[in-house]
């Protein structure tokens, strides 16, 4: 008897993988952005399945909501062309020369190796279970306490980084302040 959790996991997982693949195979940039949103939503479903609704909702608000609206905005403003221009070698060869192509190939091999290693480690590690683990993940209070005590340095460093990025963007965009 297969449990409901497992059915939901495979369902959301399949949607995530399928829409992520569709993101890179779509020729129309608008459709790619939409499939990316679908992938984020399915990921949120996986988080809910892991008993962490807060993470799921944050995922939707931050990624599927704010960031992807910005993506759509940019795609609409720049009026990005469809990538199905005729080329004897297919569309990916239009913009890339041999050097970058080799670099990309190397990079994807490294990524795959990393992924396999990470998965092996995850499978061998003992997973926390029971009501304590679930409560720890889902409680907003617990997350807040963890961020502002154990991980306060990382949190502050990230906020400074975002501030620097923001100021940098303003300086770059505005020629004359």
């Amino acid at each position: 008897m297969i449990s409901l959790d497992a059915i939901l996991f495979y369902l959301f997982g399949a949607v995530t993988v399928a829409s992520s693949l569709a993101v890179v195979t779509q020729r129309n940039p608008m459709h790619s952005v939409l499939f990316l949103i679908g992938s984020f939503l399915a990921l949120a479903g996986l988080y809910i399945n892991l008993d962490s609704p807060f993470t799921a909702v944050t995922q939707i608000i931050v990624y599927a909501g704010a960031i992807m609206v910005l993506f759509l905005f940019v795609v609409m403003l720049l009026n990005a062309p469809r990538e199905d221009v005729a080329s004897p070698y297919g569309p990916a060869y239009v913009t890339l020369t041999t050097g970058p192509r080799r670099a990309f190939a190397l990079l994807s091999v490294v990524l795959v190796v990393e992924l396999v290693l990470a998965m092996r480690q995850f499978v061998s590690a003992s997973q926390p279970s029971g009501p304590d683990a679930a409560a720890h993940v889902s409680s907003v209070r617990q997350i807040g306490i963890a961020i502002f005590t154990d991980y306060s340095l990382a949190f502050e460093a990230t906020s400074v980084l975002i501030l620097v990025a923001m100021v940098g963007a303003v300086v770059l965009a505005k020629k004359r302040l």
Binding site: M1, P53, I61, A64, V69, M76
Partner: protein, 357 residues
Amino acid sequence: MGVSVQPLIDFVTSPITIAYVVLIFVVFFSLQISAAVLVLAERKVAAFAQQRLGPYRVGWWGVLQPLADILKLLFKEELRPKAADFWLFYLAPVISATTAFAAFVVIPFGPPTDLFGLLPEPINLQGMDVNVAVLIVFAITSMGVYGIVLAGWASNSKYSLLGGLRSSAQMLSYELSYGLALASAILLGNSLSLREIVDGQSATMLGGLIPSGWFLWPSFFGFVIYMIAGVAETNRAPFDFPEAEQELVAGYHTEYSSMSFALFFLAEYINMVTVSALATNLFLGGWHWPFPLAWGWPFGVLNWLLKVAFLLFFYIWMRWTLPRYRYDQLMSFGWKWLLPAAVVNVILVAAGVVYFS
């Protein structure tokens, strides 16, 4: 198969399950009816604001006018521009309407009740009690912008595109103030569950110093900011830039007709109801009276409905009273006034919460 289906049957036929299923249908149809009532209310209030009679031919005092409107929309021809993106053109109104309905699932509208002893245990008058309800409403509302943006893009018309672009810029700008106003109520309620936030407003505050428990009093500016940002989020006048008639024909839904147009229309009204219902729950004490009173649950629900109705009237009143802003005014108001005010409000409320607790 040795799997017993008896537990499943017991679960499906238990009174509580049936009560919740009925409740969900009641909420769903009430939302649709509320949209119809709002259409009539809008036309009537507009008429009175302009010293006209408004619709009065269909039914007594024009009460059946929304029905006539719906029938008219149903029988209109469904048009699609040749250059439109087929899938996205039809997906956009569906996204708008779905997100509008879905956001209401977690909003409570009354105290727990056993319906005069009809049920073995009390049920919550709420589609579903989630411990991050406020954030879920926020997340689903922020998904609603895709309906408008996609409609603007998929129509492949310059007016629609401009409307879609404006709406995404506007929603992005006002979502921040909206979220910060929500945060002030979350801080006061010390919870992310809407039911707990509402119940936190039942008693008096500061040991009876303030006789009412509504979060409106400690976070008055939070409420004002929430309402302004809420009007901007629902694209209503005076912030109705995505469909500014004088500049953009009808904005993002220029190319839509028949039922696809009706879905956008429905979504706009239901979003208004959601924003008002959330404001009622967060700042106006939900189903609690201004002063601690222990009356039965039907009065609580009635109280809740009256507050929501007042806020909706306020929406319509604003639309027919205030002229539309200019686009640059909208942006400078949102970023230079509303957002700093919201930040100051959150800091003050947080300081107050820490000081008095």
